[in-house]
């Protein structure tokens, strides 16, 4: 059984007089430990799909099941609990909390879990170590480079040991060299920690680090570029 299952997922919204259908009866299976990239032109529903899997948006119809939980049926509060325990989200623009240090940003998701202070500290230190930022733990986001901020964002996404990590254009706001470092990091996390990943990108080079690449256009998967 797949870790993430989408069945008949349909999503549309109105923009003025026009009805846009970013996802049109989509089916998708992602297995545990897989690294799936999702490509496609702008506005084709990549981020919408990511948001549906994350439970921060709801489909008009269809079902989204993650590790046996039908997330589209959960209430907003239950979804928050579910995300805290099962999902890591890597944003394009890092979205770190500016008043918190790198350590405190990474610690945030662990505050929502039933962990002792020692367990929290251990997890945060391991996550920062995994992204190579142990020496920047006390720095505030404004004191970090773009690449370092993104690595803190990645540490925050993995610190709660989620079942799935979703990444929305994780290298979209980085220069080429930093983007390369982040790609290596994501690949390493997938292989070494066996984290299941779903990544949206418009860059084919970035998409190529995934074990499976999908192309989305006008609400449908065009083809599996590589599996």
């Amino acid at each position: 059984m797949a870790l993430v299952e989408l069945r008949g997922v349909f999503k549309s919204f109105r923009k003025g007089d026009e009805t846009i259908t970013p996802l049109d009866n989509i089916d998708l299976d992602i297995h545990a430990g897989e690294f799936v990239s999702l490509m496609g032109p702008s506005g084709t529903g990549k981020s919408t799909l990511l948001n549906l899997v994350s439970g921060i948006d709801r489909p008009d119809s269809g079902t989204i099941t993650v590790d046996g939980t039908e997330v589209n049926k959960l209430s907003r509060s239950k979804l928050a609990d579910w995300r805290a325990a099962n999902l890591g989200y890597i944003f394009q623009t890092h979205n770190l909390i500016p008043v918190l240090t790198a350590y405190e940003n990474v610690e945030l998701p662990t505050l929502l879990l039933k962990l002792s202070a020692a367990q929290r500290r251990q997890r945060v230190e391991l996550a920062l170590e995994a992204v190579g930022l142990s020496n920047r733990a006390d720095h505030y986001p404004r004191q970090l480079s773009g690449g370092q901020e993104q690595r803190v964002g990645i540490a925050r996404a993995i610190v709660a040991h989620p079942k799935v990590v979703v990444a929305d254009e994780p290298t979209g706001s980085l220069d080429a060299e930093t983007s390369e470092q982040v790609q290596v990091l994501l690949q390493r996390l997938n292989k070494e920690l066996n984290i299941t990943m779903l990544m949206v990108t418009h860059d084919s080079n970035v998409a190529s680090i995934a074990s499976r690449q999908l192309m989305l256009d006008r609400g449908k998967f065009l083809e599996a570029i590589r599996s």
């Binding site: 907003r76 944003f91 945030l108």
Partner: protein
């Protein structure tokens, strides 16, 4: 997550400082107004106000116009229910409303010591009783006028030597200066030999104050001067009736201050949530429940309000404690005193205002459409 709230408050220092300052100033005024209201309530209620009668000349208001024979005290004392009578000559520097009113009460030193709820904090009763121009002063007026033992205090035609400073359970007492009755009666300009301004009547435990008051006025009806006897609280409320209206109006000023804090903190919190709406969306993506996001905003607005309220309340209590402020008219005074009740009231109002001010932005933070908020730059 309370750490997140405190760090947010601390690390947005400019916003915090401005909001806290505004709230502190408004709560400072609120507490000052509250102390006036408390002072008035203390003056018109309580045992001293209820169980003591004041015999005053009928249809007279300012102390200088009430001139009762001193020997009325003997007739009053014979009335059933009367425990003791203290003839008092009152002199005030100002019959109109004033923030720096000076009121002298001339009475028998022995009776003052026996019947007034006062306790000397410094000085001696003996000097007060034996020296003709000696006076004991309430600590409120001593603070306000900078008076200490041994000082010669002169105002108008009156000049006294300070023999003691006293405190009292009845705050308005602390605005008074006591001298001997004879000293005040023979002060130049008063021309009050054998006359007093009022008789203060202490009742037995089982006496009905209103019945005794009626009997006193009836007994003295045939005397040289007709009297009007009332409970001390009612007498003071009547004497200060103009001020009571003003204090009632000032009460609205207090509510306006609460409104000001509410508006200030609500505006700050709304702007803060607007500015950080993406942050609240990110928190929810991480797994923060909507209700918890709501509590975070409420905690922030309440923290700001409580800090401002605590600072303003503390400043007001300090000012009231050090300033010895009082307002008075026609010889009656209202003391502005700090109190635990006032401090508690100030903090409770701050807490409630903080919660109310944060409610709308808290709901906004909790119900924000996450996807839309994340799209904001």
């Amino acid at each position: 997550m309370i750490g997140y709230v405190l760090k947010t408050v601390w690390r947005h220092r400019t916003r915090t400082l401005l909001t806290v300052t505004g709230a502190a100033v408004a709560m400072f005024v609120f507490c000052l107004v509250g102390s006036v209201q408390e002072g008035l309530n203390r003056l018109t209620t309580g045992n001293d106000a209820d169980r003591t009668l004041i015999v005053f000349q009928e249809n007279r208001f300012c102390p200088t116009t009430s001139r009762l024979p001193e020997d009325y005290s003997h007739k009053i004392k014979d009335i059933p229910g009367v425990r003791d009578v203290m003839p008092i000559q009152v002199w005030t520097n100002n019959c109109r409303a004033s923030l720096d009113i000076v009121v002298f009460n001339g009475a028998s030193p022995a009776q003052i010591q026996k019947s007034r709820p006062i306790e000397l904090t410094s000085g001696s009763w003996q000097q007060f009783a034996s020296q003709r121009d000696a006076a004991i002063v309430g600590r409120n007026i001593a603070n306000r006028r900078g008076l200490k033992i041994g000082d010669q205090f002169t105002i108008g035609e009156i000049s006294v030597k300070i023999a003691g400073v006293f405190k009292s359970k009845v705050p308005s007492e602390e605005n008074l200066i006591y001298t001997s009755l004879a000293f005040l009666q023979f002060t130049r300009g008063l021309d009050a030999a054998g006359l007093v301004t009022q008789h203060e009547v202490l009742l037995t435990a089982d006496a009905d104050p209103d019945r005794v008051a009626t009997e006193i006025d009836a007994a003295l009806r045939a005397g040289a001067v007709a009297t009007k006897t009332r409970r001390k609280g009612a007498f003071q409320a009547s004497t200060l009736s103009d001020l009571v209206d003003l204090i009632g109006f000032a009460h609205w000023l207090g509510f306006a201050c609460v409104g000001l804090v509410l508006s200030l903190v609500a505006t700050t919190t709304v702007m803060s949530v607007e500015d950080r709406i993406k942050e609240y969306a990110v928190l929810q993506v991480i797994g923060v429940r909507p209700m918890r996001a709501m509590r975070l905003v409420l905690a922030e607005s309440t923290t700001l309000c409580l800090i401002g309220g605590a600072v303003g309340t503390a400043m007001a209590l300090a000012a009231l404690s050090l300033g010895g402020f009082a307002i008075g008219a026609e010889g009656a005074t209202i003391a502005f005193r700090p109190s635990l009740a006032l401090a508690g009231y100030g903090l409770i109002v701050s807490l409630v205002v903080g919660i109310v001010a944060g409610t709308a932005p808290a709901i906004q933070a909790a119900t924000v459409p996450i996807v839309d908020a994340l799209r904001r730059t």
